[in-house]
Symmetry: C2
Subunit: 189 residues, 2 copies
């Protein structure tokens, strides 16, 4: 029943990631993680001293995945425009989850933005940095490099707005529409 050796820690992070995404960090309790993994409290506590530590691990896992995805796109697509298209296409293919739970990065930052503590906020923001910097790189080869950062933030804001409204109104057509607009915009660059 229980996991094989060496997998426990990953199982905790994996379950926590899902729960934090679907219920939010604050609303997720230790007991939730226990009941969703079958791993006992004390065992979880052996791997993570605090709940915040679990959040850190989740954020790092997200960062690693996103970094890997961006590198894969870099290797796969030489044209910066294609890379931008791939980025907005990610929203489309993630549509179902976005509608149900919103954007993982956006909602996490929104929640942590309400907390007093600083450490977690900053690492959550770094998830955005990942995309912002990568997008800025693509834009810098397409237009005035001085504007690349602004354009990256613009596109990030657009996709976050799309995710939020798509989530609130549970509207896949809206997402499709908006993504098409973004694709047309990318074509004109």
């Amino acid at each position: 029943m229980t996991s094989q050796r060496g997998h426990t820690r990953d199982d905790i992070v994996e379950a926590a990631r899902t729960l934090f995404y679907q219920r939010g960090y604050t609303r997720t309790s230790f007991s939730d993680i226990v009941s969703h993994t079958g791993i006992q409290r004390g065992n979880i506590y052996h791997y993570f001293k605090t709940k915040d530590d679990i959040l850190d691990a989740v954020i790092h896992q997200l960062a690693n995945e996103y970094r890997a995805a961006l590198s894969a796109w870099d290797a796969e697509l030489p044209d910066p425009k294609d890379r931008l298209r791939r980025f907005v296409q990610m929203v489309m293919s993630n549509r179902d989850n976005l509608i149900r739970y919103g954007c993982p990065v956006g909602s996490l930052n929104t929640e942590l933005g309400k907390a007093a503590a600083c450490a977690q906020r900053e690492s959550a923001r770094q998830l955005f940095d990942l995309f912002r910097d990568w997008l800025a790189e693509q834009f810098s080869t397409l237009t005035d490099p001085q504007q690349a950062r602004s354009l990256a933030l613009h596109l990030l804001g657009r996709t976050e707005g799309i995710s939020l409204m798509g989530h609130v109104y549970q509207d896949p057509d809206f997402i499709r529409n908006e993504i098409e607009m973004l694709e047309k915009w990318i074509d004109t660059l």
Copy 2:
């Protein structure tokens, strides 16, 4: 020290509204409301049976304020374009709060979107409905009425994305920039 008669209920709602906005609904406890109003627990409980009831009252107060603002704009500005400009200008004038705490409606919907319960989610969404319908009305006189709703959602998404990114990066210049873009877009309608 304590409030004059008849004001107690309003004081509770006012404090809860601020706390829910700044800390989030889940992170705000009864004790927080007690210590920020000087009103005792039992007294609060006399006016509201549950914490959810307080949230309802807060949402209703927000809705009333927004409704009043939109009516005022209707009375003040005959030109639909001016009304749209006023809408995006609201983001600009609210800049400081948006940077600190994000959009009240957006962050509330994000938080409640993670909750299982349905009643609160829907009333929070109705705050968006208020703006969406009002915006759609303006757009319907400017362009194809069939597209009015889509345009309204588009503009809402834009402003929400701006609020989110402005909040995450605490960047007033980004907000100014993006709002200018929206104003130019409105000019072209």
